[in-house]
Structures are given as C-alpha cells and as structure tokens.
Amino acid sequence: MADVAIFCFLASYTVAFALELLRLRTPGRFGVLASVLFSGAGFVAHTLFLWNKGTTTGIPPLLSSSQDWTLVLAWLVIGLYLFLVCCDRRLSIGVFLLPLVLALVGASYLLEDSPSRLLDSDTRVRTSWAMLHVSSLVLGSAGVLAGVSLSLMYLVQHRRLRNRGGRTTGLRLPSLERLSRMNWWSVAVSVPLLTIGMGTGLVLLLSGSEATGNLSLTDPVVVINGCSWMGLAALFCWMLLRPRASGKQVAWRTLLACGLLLLTVVGLSVLTNTSGLSSGHASWSSPASAVSAVERGTVG
C-alpha cells in the first residue's frame, strides 16, 4: 500500500476517460460500469497516496506541498464525478470532469514535492490561519473547476438542442435548467471561499513580514492571482445584479472567469516551481511553506 504512486491513479483515470469516450459511440450499461470501476480504483489509490503522504509527513496533504495541494483538488473532483455518476449513471459528465482530473494529476508532476521544511521539528506547528487559507483555496478551486465543467456542459447541451441533436447520441447531459442552476451555485460557493482564502493569505502576509520572507503585495503571483480572483468576484456581482441573465451568457462568463483563474493558479504554481518565474511566492507556493514561514515568524 505504501508503494502507491501517482502513475497508478493517473493510469486508472486515463482508462476511465477512454471508456467514457467510448461510451459516446456505443452507450451501454457495461461502459458505465467499467468507467466507474476504473475511476473508483483510481480514487482508492489516490486516497491511499494522500493518506500515505499525510502519515509520512505528519501533516495533512493540503499543507505538505503544492503537488499534494493539486492532488487534493483532483481527488475532490474525482469524488464529485463518482457521486454524480452514482446518482445518474446515464450522464456523460466524465467526458468533462475526467480531463480536468488528468490535467491536475499531470500538472502535479511538475510541482514541488519537498515537504522538507515541514519535517523540521521546530516548524511542525500548524496555524489555524494557514489551514483556513489553504483549505478555503482548495475548496474554492474545486468550485471553480465545477464551474468550468458545468459551463462547458451547458454550452455543449445548448448547442445540441439548438441543432436538434436531442438525446439520441451517446452524450447525455443534465437539462439546461439544472446546469444553469448548478453553475450559479458553483460560482456562488467558490467566490466566498476564494475570498476567505485571499483574505487569510493577506492576513498571513501582513502579520509577519519576516515569516513571509521576500513575498510582498507587489509579487507577480500575488498580483495575477488577485486579478483572477477579482475577475471571478466581478462575475459573481454581475450574476447577483442580473438574476435573469440567460444561461448561455452566465456559462460563457463563468467559463472565461473560472478558466482564467484555474489557468493562472495552476500555471503560476508550475512556473514558480520550475523556476520559470521569479517570485517570492515560489518559496511560499506550497501552503506548507506558508505554515513554516508563519511558524518562523511567530517563533523567531
């Protein structure tokens, strides 16, 4: 069990995605079952991997490294996929959710996996602020991921219905009404969570300049992520002000705002960890580093 590697669940998810694609051509009960079986196996391996990481480092996976942070996000999405497929096995949501999972797990290969500082006995103290910061960011990001998938589903379903595609093809999606409602809630839930994440990050930044090292408010990562968050917040405000906006408009805007945010968050994590971008957040990019930094600040 301790030998579970990222490749194990990445392979399972890839097979599950291939089966989902196959279902589009030849829909049937067997295809769904096989897809759920592979995804479930991947999910178990994924859970074991994160559990092993947590027990090895002695801290929750959220706080150990930016790689684990991404893997937790993928784990949440695959959990959502399994839940939805169990609710209605005919839905083809795997076609939309599994590529995101694959992208996240694939990106995790490029991210930092060095919890060394966390393992230092003098920095192994968790602060509730850091925990709140990362968990709200992860959950908010899961909401953003859901928003991207739901928007895509809405646009595909809308196009199919406008082109008189109907439900006869293998791709079965929820109704526009349901997708629109779920899309609204994904934005409505993720914006406050990301706001809490940003707010706590700010508190961490301002509370101990020594702890955060050379990270400042003008750091490119902080600025770009802040802009992306503002874009999402603006979308949320627009949705509140225009409750009767058409589902397609909401879907397009959500796709743009959430897609941009997702790209910047994951992209910047990859860039800072592969030293492609000079940022004080690089040493802070993993929430674990944040904890350690905060610890140093408070202790030192």
Partner: protein
C-alpha cells in the same frame, strides 16, 4: 378489384414537401374530392393527409378506368399548384395487394414515425368519413378501410407495439423539452389548437406535472372545453400573442394551412424576455409556426415533426421483434383480404353457372314427371336428388379450378372461358 395508392411520407419526403402537398381542413378536401370525381369518374377515392403522410387511394371495378401514376401526380400538382417535377421522385405508387398491405401497415402504425402511435387509427377513420361525406368512396374502399381498421385492432391486441412512448408529443417532450427543463410543474404551457393531437399533448404534459395550462383555438368555446378538461384556461386566437409572452412551452397542433405564429408576432411576444428559454413544438403539417422563429434569439428551441426522426428510428430499432410480429399479421391479413376480394370477383359467375345448370336440371325433371306420371312421389324425389348430385358433380371441377385460380388474383381468363363455354351473359 383494381386498387392503387400514391403517397409520400416521412420516410420519402421532407416536411417542406409534405406540407405543400397536404390537404388541410374539410373544405379543401371537399374541393379535392370534387376534382377527383371529375378527373376519374369511374374511381372511388380516399385521401389520407396527416403530419407524416399524404396518401391518395383509388379503386375501381374496371381495370381500364384505373388512373396512372402520372395522372394522380398530375392531380396533386394541379390541385396544390406545385410543379410535378418538384415531387415526382418522392412520390411512391403501390397497387393491388401491395396497396392493401401498405394501408394495413399505415393503420397499424408500423409505418408511423412513432411506432405504435394510436392517433393514426382515428386519422384513418376520419379520412374515410370525409370521403364518405363527399361521396367519393364506394364498396371497394369501404371493404379496404374496414379491413385496415380490423387489422390495426388485431396488431395492437397481439403485439406490444403500442407500449411505451407512443405519441409524437411524448417523444418530443422526452427528447428535447427534458433537455431544456428540469421540471414542468412551474412552467406555463400554451397549446395552440384544440384537436386530438393537442389533447394528447396535454395528457402527456399533465402526467409530467404541468399545472399552468393555456389553450388557444380559433373557436374559443372548443379551447375552453379542452382547457377545462385539463384544468387550464381557454382563449380565442386574438389572445395568442399575449399568451405567447407568458409561455415556457408552446405546442402548436392546428389544422391551419398557413403558420399561425409568424416571426413578427413571436418577436413582439419575446421582447424583453429573450433570456428565458422557450420550448416550441410544432406538430402541424403544414407547419403552424414559421421556421424562422427559431432564429429570433438563441433561447428559442423550435422543433417540428421531422426533428424527431432520429429518436423514432432508435425506437424502431429497439422494437424490431415486435415489428416483425406485426408485419407477419399484416401479411397474413393482406393475403386473406385479397383472397376475399378475388372470391367476391368470381362470385357472380359461380352464382350464374349454378342457376343455369339448376334450371336445366329443373326443366329435365319437369319433362320426366310429365312422361312418367305413374311414378310415386318418393321415386320422383329420388330422381330429383340424383339429378342434383349430377349437377353438383359436374359443376365441381370448374368451380374448384376457379377457386384455385382466385388465390393468386382475379382469374379473368378462366371467367371469360367459363362464360364462353357455358354461354353465360353479364
């Protein structure tokens, strides 16, 4: 019996063509029957025009009086003002047993877009009633259409063809409306028309939870009657635009020969609410809603009967076993019907032959009675019985041959031979 049908249906022709060739309303049909009587005086005729098909059945005793494919196509062309070359390729012709088989298939809904749909039976009945009202049909078409209704009953009784989604409305709602809306209990449904199709749609939507029902019809009284039956409100056509603005689901099923909702009307009704999705189902042929309405904004989801082809084909594929069973019944009934027809054709000659020979035997018996007056009544009775047996035995071979020949069609050659051999006159 000489019978033929010329037709186009959802499998052979597009809705665009079908609506141009359709016969809408009793007045147009009355005019069509009047023209048919004038063009083909020796023929019986029945027109069957639904959203899925336009069919013209003709039948006559004299094979020489049968109209040709071109003549019937020419009639459709001149009546509707559509050039023949625009539709001749989409028009099919069946005659004799094939025409019988075709009507039996149609009436049993094997040929319908939605397999097993019950509406076709009442449509066939109504088509025959209108033909009768216009004195266009006769004994041949009567036998044919009565036979078709009987076969339809048998197919529905002995197969599971009529189970599941068996109406166009149910397929359309299940296929498309459910892709747009999650639930219907908070939606307003507007039904345009108060006919059978409208009622069937309402029945399905009510079962799906619809609460707010509005019905508009040319006759407000009929709209109110239908709406009251389904817990809704009925209105006249003058309220159509106003009601369109409030509806989430619009179902049009009128018998109008031109669109009752045009782009201008729909645009006005949609003004200020083009962010709200609206599902529009046009079950009319000719269409009740201008197809350009779909382009008004991207939240208008407009469908007509031809948009359901793919789903209906899938439905057919899944029930191929039932189709085979239904077709076996139809083939058997078609054969039986044709045998009945042929036997009816040989009936007069058999009757006359029997009468002629019985008359000869009776005359011979009379002569014998006058010559042999001393014979007892019981003896005369025995002689009479012997003569009757001789007549029957002599008649048996030709009548058997006639019966045998009639299994494959009207035995015109044999009938002529018998007439000549035994000097039988019409």
């Amino acid at each position: 019996m000489n019978l033929q049908v010329i037709y186009c249906n959802h499998q052979t022709a597009s809705l665009d063509l079908r609506e141009r060739l359709a016969f809408t309303g009793a007045d147009q049909l009355a005019a069509a029957y009047s023209d048919l009587r004038r063009a083909f005086p020796g023929s019986e005729a029945v027109v069957l025009s639904t959203c899925n098909r336009v069919e013209l059945y003709t039948a006559q005793d004299d094979p020489k009086a049968a109209p040709t494919h071109e003549q019937l196509a020419g009639f459709l062309s001149s009546f509707h003002g559509v050039p023949v070359e625009n539709f001749l390729g989409d028009l099919l012709l069946q005659s004799g047993p094939d025409a019988v088989n075709h009507l039996f298939r149609v009436c049993s809904s094997v040929d319908s877009m939605v397999l097993g749909e019950p509406q076709i039976v009442s449509q066939v009945k109504e088509a025959y009633r209108l033909a009768e009202e216009n004195s266009a049909c006769g004994p041949l078409t009567n036998a044919l259409f009565q036979g078709a209704l009987r076969v339809s009953k048998r197919v529905r009784r002995e197969t599971r063809l009529a189970r599941g989604r068996v109406s166009i409305a149910s397929v359309a709602v299940g296929e498309f409306a459910r892709g747009i809306f999650d639930r219907f209990d908070d939606k307003t449904v507007l039904v345009i028309g108060a006919g059978e199709m409208a009622e069937e749609t309402l029945e399905y939507l009510k079962a799906d939870g619809v609460r707010q029902v509005l019905v508009v019809n040319r006759s407000p009284e009929r709209a109110e009657i239908l709406a009251a039956k389904w817990g809704g409100r009925g209105f006249g056509m003058d309220r159509l635009e106003e009601l369109l603005a409030t509806a989430d689901v619009v179902v049009a099923a009128t018998g109008s020969d031109r669109p009752v909702v045009d782009v201008e009307m729909f645009t006005r009704a949609r003004s200020g609410q083009n962010d709200r999705p609206v599902f529009v189902l046009d079950l009319g042929a000719p269409r009740d809603i201008d197809p350009a309405v779909a382009e008004i904004d991207e939240n208008v989801f407009l469908y007509d009967v031809d948009d359901l082809q793919e789903t209906c084909q899938k439905n057919r594929d899944q029930r191929s076993g039932e189709i085979e069973r239904a077709l076996a019944i139809i083939d058997e009934e078609s054969e039986r019907f044709m045998q009945g027809v042929y036997h009816r054709a040989t009936g007069p000659i058999v009757k006359r032959l029997r009468e002629q020979w019985s008359e000869v035997s009776r005359l011979e018996l009379e002569r014998l009675r006058s010559k042999l007056g001393h014979l007892e009544a019981s003896d005369m009775e025995k002689v009479e019985q012997s003569l009757s047996r001789i007549v029957n035995k002599l008649l048996h071979p030709p009548l058997e041959a006639l019966k045998e020949e009639a299994r494959d069609g009207t035995p015109h050659g044999l009938i002529d031979a018998l007439k000549r051999l035994f000097h039988i006159r019409d």
